[in-house]
Structures are given as C-alpha cells and as structure tokens.
Symmetry: C2
C-alpha cells in the first residue's frame, strides 16, 4: 500500500490504461484502475478467438494478475457512468470515486455509422464476448446448414460477409477462409464446399489503406487465392440477419455479417460535459490534457489528437505510447517540471492473411508472404502479456500449423 | 458414407453415447448421433473449469472431431423433444428422425430434490456452461467483496457453500479452497483471508460413501486442513441467494451455493411414454433393452439397472461400459445371435482434494495422499480424449503446480 495522498484514477484496462498504470509504478501516487471487466484483452488476436484458433483465456489476462507486484496499484471492477469534472469525481456502479489526476482510457467500440438495424444484426469484434459470439454463430451456421433441406437457405447459412478492408477485416476474412477450407471440411464430409461464400466488402477501392500500394495489392491477391470474394466500392446499406443490401442495390442472401468497418470512442465520451469531435473522440492538448482541466488526460481511442494534419489512428501502439507519456507527465506535474508534448512514433503495421501469408511495413522494412508472416508471428508473441500466454499461444499455433486444426470449435451456450 | 440401410440413432454425446458410436464403427449400420451441444465434455474435470484451473476448450472436444474418421457416422446438433416408440421415430428441433435401433444416452441433470427456490439460486455442475457460470460468479464475489464497505455483507459474499459429500462435492470444495488460499490471495492483497469461509455440507455422516472407511476419514481430514468446514448431518432446507437455511434451523449468510448433492436422469425420461423409476431413470432389461421394445436401448445415467440388489451408480465408467455393451448387442441382433447380459466391472473410484492429496481405490489398490494423487493425475490424463487435450491439460497442471497459479481467472460476460 502506498502512503501517497495523490490519487490517480485510470478508466479502462486496455493498452493505454494498463501502460499508464505500469509506468506509474514508482511514482509517489496511489493508482486506481477501473474497468467493467476484470481482464485485459490482447485485441489484435481477437479474430483468432472468433475463428476458433485460440481460446479466450489465451489472449486475456486478469488486470490484477498483470500488475500483481505493484505496491501502489489497486483495481476495481466497476462501470463508470459519468465524470464530474468540476468536483473531480467519477460516478460509478459502486458509488462516487474521487481523483486528483484522471486518465481516461476507456477505448473504442464498433462504429455502425448510424445503421441501426445493422448494429443489431451484425457482429462487432471489440471484446472477448464478441469473439465467442462470432465463433458460436459461425459454427452453428455449419450445424444448421447440415440440417437444411432447402439448397438456397443452406447457401445463405454458409455465406459470410466481412465488412471493412482494414487489418481486422483482412485478418478475419483470411482466418475464416482457412477455418472452413482447411478444418471444417474435415468435420463435415457431406459439406459441398461450393455452397460456401466468404465476401470481404470494402467501400473504397483498396484494402489496408495504411500500407504501401504493393502490399495492398498483395493482400487482395492472397485473399482472392483463398477464395475470399474481395469486393471494392461495396457499401452496406442494410442487413436484416437474412440478407444484406448494398448501396448499389445488390442483394446478398447471408446469415452472417461481421462488421470491421469502423471504430468510435466509447459512449462515455458523450457524458464528460465536453463536446466530442469526430468518431466521438475528445480533443486533447499536445500534452494529452483536457483543455481547462489539466488534471485530466485522455488517451488511446478516446482521444482526438492530430499530428502532421491528420488524426492519429485508433490502434494499440498509439494507446501504448500515450499511456507511457501520460505517466511521465503526471510525474512531471508532481515535481513541478514542464510537461512533454506527445509525439507518436509510428513503427508500422502488419496484417496476416493466413498460413505463410502476411504483409508488413515495420521500422521501414516492407515485406509480404512468408517473411512478413514470420515477422507477424514474432511480434505478436513478444507483445502478448505473460510468459504463460506466450507459451500456450505458440503451442496452439504450432499444432494448428502442422495438423491443420483449430482446437476451440465449441458452440458454448449462454 | 455407409451403404447400410439399418439406422442406429444415438441420443446424447456423453460417455455412453460416444462409446456406443465408436464401438459400432465396423458394424453394417448408419450411426446418427444427436446432441444439443456440438461437443463431448469430460465431466470429471468440470470442477476445474469452475475453479479457473482449466479452460473449457481443454476438457471438451467437438463430437465431429472425435469421430472424424468413422465412415458410418453422422452427427446432428438438435434438441430431442420426444420419442414415438410405436412409430420408431424421434421428435426433434429439426423435424422427425426415424430409427431402426435407438440408443438413449441422454444422461443426467442436477437433482435439487424438489427444492424449487434452490434450483434457481444454487449452481449445478453438469455442463461446460455451468462450469463457466460458477467461475464467473466466484471471481465476481471477490471483486464485489472488494467494493463492499459493510463487513457482514463482505463476509457473506466470501462464504461459499458446497452441498454434497460425494466425489464432485469433495473435489469442488478442495479446488475452491486452493484457488482462494493459493492464488486469489495474491490477486487481492487487501483481502482478509479470515473473511473467507468454505463449507461442505453433507446430509449423512460420511464423505465419499463408496470408499472404504479409512479413505473417507482421510478425505475429511485433508479438506479440514485446507480450512474447508466439513459439516455432517447438514441438510439444506432453503437458499435465497443471500442466506442458506438448514433443516436444523441454522442460518448461514452466503451468496454462493454449489449443488453437488444429487443427479437424476434428464427430463426426456418423462416423455418416453414409460413410467420412470427412482431418480427419473428408466428400468431396462439385463441386456439394457427397454421391455417390449427390444430395438430401444437405454444406457448411462438414464438407465435404471440393478446388480447384486443395488442400482448401478450414475458415473462415467458405467456409461462407458454400457455403451460398448450396447454396440456388441446391436451387432448380435443384426447377426441373429443371442444378446449378452450387461455386467458392470467396477474399477474403483478416485477423488482428488488438491495438491498432492487424493484418495483412491482402483483395481483393489487403496491409497491416499501423494500416491493416490499421482494415480488420479495419470488416470485422468489417459482418459481425456485427444492428444492435444492431454498435452494442454498436463502443461496447465504442471504450470499451476509449480507456480501456484490458475490461468482462467476471467469473468466473461454473457
């Protein structure tokens, strides 16, 4: 227990909040992290939970376990309902919690861009429960297709639409194709693989917009070779759970839509008493402080911050670096030192498309195919929190790679 | 695809149904297995899912994956609603399914002995979802206790009642004690372990009634040393989710009751058109056939069969042996040979109470302590289906043993 009187409350145990808490371990403050879940999720591998490749426990770890040794740390599993900036107090499901410094790292949620019905019928992919829901649904589609006597309805059950050609959409479509074509075909000897369709719908005319053109083209080509129908200029207008309607008027009978087309800041943004900007993100100073409230920092997906005229992307590396920067600045504030402005160091992006296939631009190195895939593997294993998770994920991947398997093919019930 | 015209329908993918299906692999029949879940569960380790020691995926495997190579096998994920014995037809959620031979292996469910409110407030432990529900609830109790300012309510949140001193209750109570005293104490440095109570309530005056007396006493003593309050002659009269009332009038404030006091045949027993006997089990002939319906076999928890004047216990080995016996007898029927009567070969029982502690009577060998624990480990690893599950469970156990850990401490939401 720290004897410090200064209380730093961190809202959210994602990449930003966790890194802020850890970087404050030697600061003379009491750190209290709040989250509605008791665990931190390694979101970049969530799509592997959704495609039965990894078990939920392998990419998540309890926050208390991660920060177990940290003397000045405490965790509370609560819902944060609002912030009273004037009183420096949070309204939570366990009553009010006061702070001296506040780090808002509540992250993002799926952005359906106002498509109300789609938000109820399509699946987002932001939390463990989303991953399990998609896994259960996809596997159920195959079980139900086996019971279906009407060929049109069977094909609709076996048509999977992934919306959005960013890294999540690309990885999801690739993993779904491999789950079906390498693994499920063995489980369902009576399945006609020609009844299966996987579509990746992208509104613009390119996948992975953050990548150099050569790699974008390589990604699209690789997906196509895995029998993913990569469709450009395809904007979803509606989906009722049985068929999707595109803006062009095209109608696609399908029972599954996975929505990876957008993220926005979580709804807490709307309850801070400040006007959120684009994607519900709240504008911050260069030091990540809230204007007129220097004791409040906003980081990660929740923060709106421009560099070189463009908003920073809503990705894990931004949140991680912001978390560390905030910890430094809180220490500076305590010592009366001037604050450092935040500068994002872009280390590049990676996306895997399946066995031996990925695209990567990391530290200036551009690669595709097997080399990029090995880079992807290494970087993800290194970033996973905890040696146990690293070991079990690696074993899982090795097994699946050599035996063309996916272990977590259970349809669990609620 | 088998060309056989004879259809054997098996209801239930538990130990009985699975072994019957597998033993029919060379028979000239088409085997169709029905289950509402797509997986087989290794029920003897379910309590380890409930206590965050194992991940659900490690003790369950999709039925299609287990029987993948079997040419004459097909699986359908359906709910069986009833049986029309006269028409030889099942009523299922996917329409009627006709059979030539029927193997009813629908198993058991938690028996609350008519305690209506307890059936809604206490947790059973029969399926993967039960295990996950208990895990989430127990971990939530600790998170909520940390937010509780009232000391009485905090203690009630940290009081865990396990009902029933059979193997499930004993293993559950021991595992719960170790989860809390070896692992959670590290997660909750502010937890006062004296606020925690674990009670094992047994209505009779002995645990593990099937064991020899020396081992029963050893089990009770070992649990007591792990700070489990083992209470004999304690019968639950009511539980409202906040406090338990015993027949004696004793009232125990507690937010958790895990019910391991009884099993009965699943409710399908009541919809066969025959009168079920004790525990909802349906009486069968010596050959496990239903009287007046020689084409219908009933096995496992669903079957009532006496040997040496006592009903066979509702345990996995009985179901496994019955499954194999039924497969033999169906082959005998097809060849016009006389049927074999079923004889249970009791191989003994085991129960583990935690680290280095178990009691076992196996093949006439009686042991307790470390030797029994090693026997328990070996037998369970051997019986787990699939090399991958064996490997991952073994790694998990080794890790937890050496590092005093439990990996699956996630509170997942529905």
């Amino acid at each position: 227990m720290a004897q410090a009187d200064t209380v730093v409350v961190i809202v959210g145990g994602g990449f930003g909040g966790l890194n802020a808490a850890r970087a404050l371990r030697r600061a003379p403050v009491q750190v209290v992290l709040l989250d509605r879940n008791n665990y931190h999720v390694f979101q970049p591998l969530l799509y592997q939970v959704a495609t039965a490749g990894l078990e939920p426990e392998q990419i998540a770890k309890p926050v208390r376990a991660i920060l177990r040794g940290q003397q000045n740390f405490d965790f509370r599993m609560v819902d944060v309902r609002g912030v009273d900036l004037a009183q420096r107090r949070l309204d939570t499901s366990a009553g009010p919690i006061a702070y001296d410094y506040l780090v808002l790292a509540y992250g993002g949620e799926t952005n359906f861009f106002g498509l109300d019905r789609v938000s109820r019928t399509a699946f987002g992919l932001k939390d463990i429960s989303d991953g399990i829901t998609i896994r259960n649904h996809v596997l159920s589609c195959f079980e139900l297709a086996m019971l279906e006597t009407d060929p049109e309805r069977r094909r609709a059950r076996l048509t999977f639409i992934v919306v959005g050609g960013g890294p999540t959409g690309v990885e999801m479509a690739g993993a779904l194709s491999e789950l079906i074509r390498l693994v499920l075909v063995k489980d369902y000897p009576r399945l006609n693989i020609k009844d299966v369709r996987i579509l990746l719908l992208e509104a613009t005319d390119t996948l992975l917009a953050a990548m150099p053109e050569r790699l974008r083209e390589a990604a699209a080509k690789t997906l196509w070779r895995k029998y993913v129908e990569v469709r450009f200029g395809a904007t979803v207008a509606d989906f009722d759970g049985l068929e999707a309607r595109l803006k062009s008027g095209e109608v696609i009978p399908a029972h599954t839509m996975i929505w990876a087309a957008g993220v926005r800041a979580a709804e807490l943004s709307g309850r801070l008493g400040v006007t959120p900007g684009r994607q519900g993100r709240v504008a911050v100073e260069e030091t990540l402080q809230l204007k007129e409230h220097p004791e409040v920092f906003i980081i990660g997906d929740a923060a709106y911050h421009e560099e070189n005229g463009a908003p920073l992307p809503m990705v894990a590396p931004v949140a991680i670096q912001m978390g560390k920067s905030v910890a430094t600045n809180i220490r500076n504030l305590l010592r009366g030192k001037p604050l450092e402005p935040f500068r994002y160091r872009d280390q590049g992006t990676l996306a895997t498309i399946g066995r031996n296939a990925a695209v990567a631009t990391v530290y200036g190195i551009r690669a595709s195919g097997f080399i990029a895939w090995v880079m992807w593997l290494g970087i993800h294993i290194i970033q996973l929190i905890g040696f146990r998770n690293k070991l079990f994920v690696l074993l899982n991947w090795a097994w699946d790679y050599f035996f063309y398997e996916r272990a977590a093919r259970l349809i669990t019930r609620d």
